[in-house]
């Protein structure tokens, strides 16, 4: 099989949201001596681009987008160690510290976002749910994050998003990070009120927004 044919197969496996086919195509390509980075750039990412376009025009729905992302992630778990071994790691798009605010145990939207971030080439530190405001700040400092992404689903907990921003201001480090907020209880109005750098209504929009903010 020629390389072009292999890339077409990889792309199609992602479009089909078929994890098994993605993994077997990845292995075939590796056996044929294709560089891991080339597998990603020429096969998997073109597939994800199609998936993104299909999602935007509602040809596919959120569960399909997620399955494609999961298939991509499975491929990355094979390819990433090889890229590290070869020392050819390209730059990541950015470092993100992510979590759900204190008092709030809702994780599903945040987990979808994490998956889409990783799929889109970001490094993500997921602090989980019920996250104390200083955990956000300490982790962001520790990893030198570009973006702090804070989720809140409950209207009674969303003040936790403001608390993070206020605490950063108190420490004089607000400008070191882009802060984006999301989750069921949030709106653009709220983001403007608390001085966040951005708000997104869906995980997909959040990735686009973050990409813009860090570029």
């Amino acid at each position: 099989m020629g390389h072009e044919e292999l890339f077409a197969q990889l792309k199609q496996a992602i479009i089909d949201q078929d994890e098994d086919a993605v993994l077997s195509s990845v292995n075939t390509a590796l056996d044929a001596g294709v560089e891991p980075k080339t597998i990603i750039d020429q096969g998997l990412l073109p597939g994800l681009n199609v998936i993104g376009e299909q999602f935007e025009c509602e040809d596919i729905f959120l569960p399909e987008l997620m399955q494609a992302a999961l298939a991509f992630q499975a491929a990355m778990s094979v390819l990433e160690p090889k890229i590290k071994e070869s020392g050819n790691e390209g730059p990541k798009k950015g470092k993100i510290v992510l979590g759900t605010v204190k008092g709030d145990l809702h994780s599903i939207g945040k987990n979808i976002l994490k998956l889409l971030y990783e799929t889109s080439g970001f490094d993500v530190w997921d602090l989980g749910i019920d996250v104390d405001l200083f955990k956000f700040i300490d982790k962001a400092k520790e990893v030198d994050a570009d973006v702090i992404a804070i989720s809140a689903l409950l209207t009674t907990t969303l003040v936790g998003q403001r608390d993070v921003i206020e605490a950063l201001k108190d420490q004089g480090t607000r400008d070191r990070y882009k802060i984006i907020i999301g989750g069921g209880a949030t709106t653009q109005v709220w983001a403007d009120t608390i001085g966040a750098d951005g708000w997104a209504g869906t995980a997909y929009e959040a990735v686009n927004l973050t990409t813009k903010l860090v570029s």
Binding site: E58, F61, L62, P63, G103, L105, H106, I108, G109, I112, D130, T155, T156, T157, L158, V159, G184, A185, T187, V189, W190, T193, T202, A203, Y204
Partner: protein, 487 residues
Amino acid sequence: MIRMGFAELLTPHEVRRTHEASLEVLEAVGIAAHNPRAREVFKKHGCSVDSETGVVRFPAEIVETYRAMAPPSFTFRGRDPKFDRTIPDDGPIVVTGSSAPNVVDPVTGVERRATSADIATIAHLINELPGFDVFSISTLADDAPDGQFSLSRFYPALKNCLKPVRSNTPNMADLRQVIELGELIAGGADAYRERPVINHHYCPMVSPLTMDVDSTEAVLWLTERGLPVYTTVVPNAGLTAPMTMMGCLVVGNAEFLAITTFQQMIKEATPVIYASLPTVADMRTGAYTPGAIETGMLLAAQAQLARFYDVPAGGYIGLTNAHSSDAQSGFETGMNTVLGVTAGATLLNMGGLFSSLMAFDFAKCVIDNEIALMDKRVWRGLEFSEDNLALAEIAAVGPGGSYMGRQHTKARMKTTAVLPRLADRSMRGQWEEAGRPDIHSRALAEARRILAQPNPAVWDGALDATIRARFPGIVAGDALPLDAPQV
């Protein structure tokens, strides 16, 4: 009351099987309990608790024993006992939607953060609108002083409304503060225990099958003390529950059984409500859809399950995803609440919110009052009686006559039908002459009219002084006419 029987979406066999399936889930899958005190309660009363994961598994007979202790009614108390409401007998009772962070400013029409003054104004409005029975505090208060997050909501609400006030608190410090406010209003701790005028509500169950820390703690604390508290389960098919109506029903039902079992373990015969906000997520984007018809259908099925358990039923129904008083807002609130009422739900959390519980709107609130009056009319039914067949009247008027000028008509003309203040029944020409007013502007005018009157619900100066002395820096808590600046 509806006499033909309630609308039922499940057969008796299907109800029983749903119940059994929920027991299977509780026994085999269990509930992840994050609150250590809750784990102890479950352990002490015969559940197995995995000390590492916190997963509680419920033997079926334990659930059956405790859920059977839940009494058939729940009472909401207001500052004035004449507004006390017990469901199901006084149902359907209509409750405002709650805890929206924003309000659509009645003067500018622009959405902004809600304040304690908004809460006071809304409380005044709810006190006057006859369709509403319970004021679940509609918004947050962005102007709350430090350490008074909940106080800044409960104080303006209670001060301006004699009807039962309901809401939640985010932590125990806030809860204790709010109870202290209640005790000051009641005239002491004993008097408060006798007539607790604050009605507590929490969502300790986080779908799927998880119990949180803080709300669980509040429910535990209140239940121990015999203070009124009920909970809502919120399964969301496709995200936090399976993508079938029945799978969503089972997850929500297992959660209801878990929290009900929990409350009865703490204190036998604690009143509960089978309250829910079930949704089917919009899988195109994952969007939250409380206004969708599936919410009404699932809530109707839950009302049926509640009858099986002999507890009152209801929840958040008639919410809307719409952002203005448009047709979508009307059909989502109207269709779902009628579905709930005909299915026997006696608690409707429906009033005043746009954008999936994100923003309160004064006009929407007045429109929902009118929908509530229609829902209650449906509940009254056709009032069959020999007298109401009006045979003598039919004979007296005879063929070709008119009922218009009759004493029989005059005596019943104000009670047979709902007389809406907002629904337009004029001729097109009259409507055009009046400048083609839409329902939003008619409703806002009605809100303005009501809020221009003095509020008879406001408590006396002596009590207010006592409260203000106890909580220095507390917000003013006064309602404002709608044309005044609200910030």
